[in-house]
């Protein structure tokens, strides 16, 4: 007789319910199963109306973020057997601090708007012509921002950050980490523009360095570190604006085939 585990999921349908009600499903436990497998089993065999997001099932698309026993996790990267000791139940809930559209699906348009606002793309004064060739970057220059570029926008960090929950206008860990990813990119010239956008109590200064975002990040992006570095940069920038009011010169970037 194989092991089973009870999976508790809050069911909520906006047309039908005023608030969620927990439903329990009995799911078999296989050694290699993850929580996503359990959800797929439920949808397949027990209740086809269960609604949740998933895609790549290998921890790269960022779709399947959920609260598993109160912890933000990717359901495709969380083994079911971890929770299957002594007949305990596992509680799977939608990511915290987001509105719930239905069952386990959260509303992300606010996050996407915040992300867009920080301009997470290369900002340059001039666009060099194609004839000048591609930008060159040394391995050291890549190391400056590579860690922050690993973000898969899974929003687990938003579910972990209490400031996001308490102040819905706070831009949030991933958005700031991604802004920093571009600030540190040697090809980018938009650091000042992004600083003007983020230098507000709802931007970097809203962060109180709880550090939960870094702890739950499945890609080890360390958004908390990114934000603290950003604060230090902003503070130094402020000091410089008194000491050297003439502004800083642009970064020089190498192009293949042409001297900088």
């Amino acid at each position: 007789m194989k092991d089973t585990i009870i999976v508790e999921i809050p069911r909520y349908s906006p047309e039908r319910d005023a608030e969620p009600h927990f439903q329990r499903f009995e799911v078999p436990v296989y050694k290699e199963w993850v929580v996503l497998d359990a959800l797929n089993y439920i949808k397949d065999k027990l209740d086809g109306s269960l609604t949740y997001r998933w895609s790549c099932r290998m921890g790269i698309c960022g779709s399947c973020g959920m609260m598993v026993n109160g912890e933000p996790k990717l359901s495709c990267a969380t083994f079911l057997s971890t929770y299957a000791r002594n007949g305990a139940a596992v509680r799977v809930e939608p990511l915290r601090y987001f509105p719930v559209i239905r069952d386990l699906v959260t509303e992300l348009s606010d996050f996407l708007a915040k992300l867009k606002r920080v301009k997470p793309w290369l900002l340059r004064e001039d666009e060099p012509s194609l004839a000048q060739g591609e930008f060159l970057q040394t391995p050291e220059q890549l190391e400056e921002y590579k860690q922050f570029s690993m973000c898969i926008n899974c929003t687990l960090c938003y579910a972990a950050c209490p400031v996001v929950g308490l102040d819905p206008v706070f831009v949030g860990p991933a958005a700031i980490a991604l802004a920093q990813r571009y600030n540190k990119d040697s090809r980018d010239e938009g650091a000042e523009e992004r600083l003007a956008i983020l230098e507000h109590p709802e931007g970097i200064w809203g962060c109180t360095f709880v550090g939960e975002c870094t702890r739950v990040c499945p890609k080890h992006v360390d958004p908390a570190g990114a934000i603290q570095q950003y604060k230090l940069t902003a503070a130094l920038d402020w000091v410089k604006s008194f000491v050297m009011p003439l502004g800083r010169k642009n970064k020089d970037v190498d192009h293949a085939g042409k001297a900088a």
């Binding site: 348009s109 391995p139 209490p162 929950g165």
Partner: protein, 142 residues
């Protein structure tokens, strides 16, 4: 340029009015051990402020003369005051340890392209803590 808030309210699609929006309780910080540790860390600042109050009282006593200072020293021996100060000491040390452990995260120090491990920034901080404390103690106890 006037300071604008990033946005007045969160932006949600207009077409879904009936979402469930869970309410975040005032006791959110009791829900998780990490949140509680965070709030204790923040509360340590109150005990830091209490130390400054003590310092100001001590300076006032010093300024008022030997009798006033001896009255102040006597007050410091009050069991309630000692209890508060012992608790404060724990919190102030908690502040120091969390500070030295977290401060390196704000600095991405690179040597020859590789990021320095955090211990290399926090260890000198701890060392300086010991040296400075010993220096102060020596000056006072001499």
């Amino acid at each position: 340029m006037p300071e604008k808030p990033l946005s007045k309210a969160p932006i949600y699609t207009e077409f879904h009015p009936r979402w469930y929006r869970p309410h975040v309780s005032v006791y959110w910080w009791l829900g998780q051990r990490q949140y509680l540790k965070f709030i204790l860390r923040e509360i340590s600042s109150v005990f830091v402020a209490w130390f400054v109050v003590l310092m100001l009282l001590q300076l006032r006593a010093l300024r008022s003369g030997p009798d006033a200072y001896s009255r102040f020293s006597h007050w410091l021996q009050n069991p309630l005051v000692i209890a508060i100060n012992i608790v404060s000491l724990f919190f102030v040390i908690f502040h120091a340890i969390t500070w030295f452990n977290l401060a390196p995260r704000a600095m991405a120090v690179r040597v020859r392209g590789k990021q320095l491990p955090e211990i290399m920034i926090s260890a000198p901080n701890y060392a300086m803590w010991v040296v400075v404390s010993a220096g102060v103690a020596w000056l006072v106890l001499r």
